[in-house]
């Protein structure tokens, strides 16, 4: 395999929360313009790994990584890497929706504004586009200037996705982006992911096997901090190599 196609790679990655070994010797290479799904039981390290990919764990006291993570072949933990640039490249939707205590509009355009964009029209257009993409526009178009905290759980989740899309990163990390969504909204987000794949590299954590099956090209199965199996989604769902994977996917586990 030529390296060229890999957008994101982890090499011999180990991560620790203090003395707790949260990620054990992870090796994975994610293709550009493809959707990779992370699955695995609760507490296995999916979020931890996802957050390592754009260095969001830097802020957790006692957290430590060993090994390399390469974005387009460059080590993102290298000294000269600018984390803010990195995160514009690698956008993130967190597991718990975390809207800013600002208006809905301000939330969506935040990323653009900090990049220095001031043009009101462009901001408004981008906001509308992102909110439409996440199927939130109709629900909030009349209250764009209301606090984002007055939204329902699912609305907040979609807002956070819209916010991440607005800055057009090249990689999007999503931690259970549809956990609080009804089936229809979920379907819309899945559709969106499908469309985005044309331009973006997407990593998604999900507990929903059907969802993983529907949207992803590759699937990675984590268990107790280890990457048990990583393969084409179709392959994994039809003929997993490991028994553990098989058990997990079919729900015969625990």
């Amino acid at each position: 395999m030529s390296k060229k196609n890999y957008k994101l790679e982890a090499k011999d990655l180990n991560a620790y929360y203090g003395s707790f070994h949260a990620l054990k010797n992870i090796n994975i290479a994610m293709e550009e313009k493809a959707v990779t799904a992370f699955i695995g039981p609760s507490g296995c390290g999916k979020s931890t790994f996802l957050r390592t990919l754009n260095r969001m764990n830097d802020y957790i006291e006692g957290f430590r990584v060993e090994g390399d993570i390469l974005l387009d072949g460059r080590d993102i933990y290298a000294k000269d890497v600018r984390v803010d640039e990195l995160r514009k490249e690698v956008g993130m939707v967190f597991q718990k929706p975390n809207p800013f205590p600002k208006t809905i509009f301000e939330n969506v355009v935040y990323g653009l504004k900090i990049q220095g964009l001031k043009d009101k029209r462009v901001l408004a257009e981008t906001a509308e586009k992102s909110l439409r993409q996440t199927a939130l526009w109709d629900e909030v178009k009349d209250k764009l200037d209301k606090s984002a905290l007055a939204l329902s759980g699912g609305q907040q989740q979609r807002l956070c996705i819209a916010r991440a899309l607005a800055i057009s990163p090249s990689v999007i990390l999503m931690d259970e982006p549809t956990s609080a969504l009804d089936p229809i909204s979920t379907a819309k987000i899945e559709e969106l992911i499908f469309k985005l794949k044309n331009d973006y590299t997407i990593v998604i954590v999900t507990h929903n096997m059907q969802q993983a099956g529907r949207v992803s090209d590759y699937t990675a199965f984590f268990y107790m901090g280890e990457l048990v199996e990583f393969a084409k989604t179709r392959t994994m769902f039809t003929s997993p190599k490991h028994e553990r994977t098989q058990n997990y996917i079919t729900g015969r586990f625990g």
């Binding site: 600018r82 803010d84 640039e85 514009k88 900090i114 220095g116």
Partner: protein
């Protein structure tokens, strides 16, 4: 230059500015401390700490002054902190958000700006004359309590306000009463911030001389107070007194007394800082 570069530059610039500001603060502090230490350290010896005031700078000591300061600070803490924290909690968690409450809220902050001497005059009338405490330690401590209460109340309220709604929700949903929620969740989570208020209040109380002079604290007291109803003097009064003497030797005494005053503050603040670090480490959401 792209926007990103500009932002990066600003970020770096601010970092430099931040270091600069922090160091300004530290350098000024160092100047003060070194200056005072150079001037006063040599003067500090056992005699200085255990002697009574005297007209001769070389014989004058601060026994009664530091004893009075300790008395005052401890009593003030005992009176003002529980009261202030309780009032802060009450206003933030319990009182109805009526117009009157709003008015009160603004005015408590207001009271922090009333010059301390006015508290002295008030304290003299209320505690000294009406309650008949005269110029006793208790009257002084009550007066200083009045003085620092606004600081404690206001900082307590802010610290409490900063506790996320979701924590309260969680507690209420488990059947906790308001008081239990406040006591078990809100207060522990905000204790670090409250302690900062306490530190600042102590710092304020420790240096006050004028209001105490007004309520009747003395300058020359040849005996160590043994009860809250005794007459007393405090270090700041001694310091003010000495700095206004013509003889240079008294200025040295003043510097030495300031060192002792700072030492007392250090110790009291140190306790609060220790607790604050402990609490703030525990609470991170």
């Amino acid at each position: 230059m792209t926007n990103a570069e500009k932002n990066r530059l600003k970020d770096k610039a601010f970092q430099v500015f931040g270091v600069f500001c922090t160091f300004i603060g530290l350098v000024i502090l160092a100047i003060f401390l070194i200056d005072i230490l150079i001037e006063g350290l040599a003067r500090i010896d056992w005699d200085f700490i255990t002697s009574l005031p005297s007209r001769r700078a070389s014989r004058a000591g601060i026994l009664t002054a530091w004893a009075g300061t300790l008395w005052i600070l401890v009593l003030t803490s005992v009176i003002a902190f529980p009261l202030g924290i309780a009032a802060g909690v009450y206003l933030e968690e319990y009182s109805k958000k009526t117009r009157l409450a709003n008015f009160l809220e603004v005015n408590i902050a207001n009271l922090a700006g009333v010059p301390s001497i006015i508290y002295g005059l008030l304290g003299m009338e209320m505690f000294g004359r009406v309650m008949g405490l005269g110029g006793s330690i208790l009257a002084g401590a009550l007066t200083l309590s009045l003085l620092v209460l606004p600081i404690i109340i206001v900082t307590t309220r802010e610290a409490i306000k900063a506790v996320p709604r979701s924590i309260r929700d969680a507690s209420y949903a488990l059947g906790a009463s308001k008081w239990q929620t406040t006591w078990n969740q809100v207060l522990p989570a905000s204790f670090g911030g409250i302690l900062t208020g306490v530190i600042l209040a102590l710092s304020r109380a420790v240096g006050e001389a004028a209001p105490l002079i007004v309520i009747g604290a003395l300058a020359y007291v040849p005996f160590v107070p043994t009860s809250p109803t005794d007459e007393f003097t405090v270090l700041p009064i001694q310091i003010f007194n000495w700095t206004s003497r013509p003889q240079a030797d008294f200025l040295v005494n003043a510097a030495a007394a300031i060192i002792i005053l700072l030492l007392i503050t250090f110790i009291l603040n140190g306790i609060a800082v220790y607790l604050r670090n402990k609490w703030q480490k525990r609470v991170k959401w």
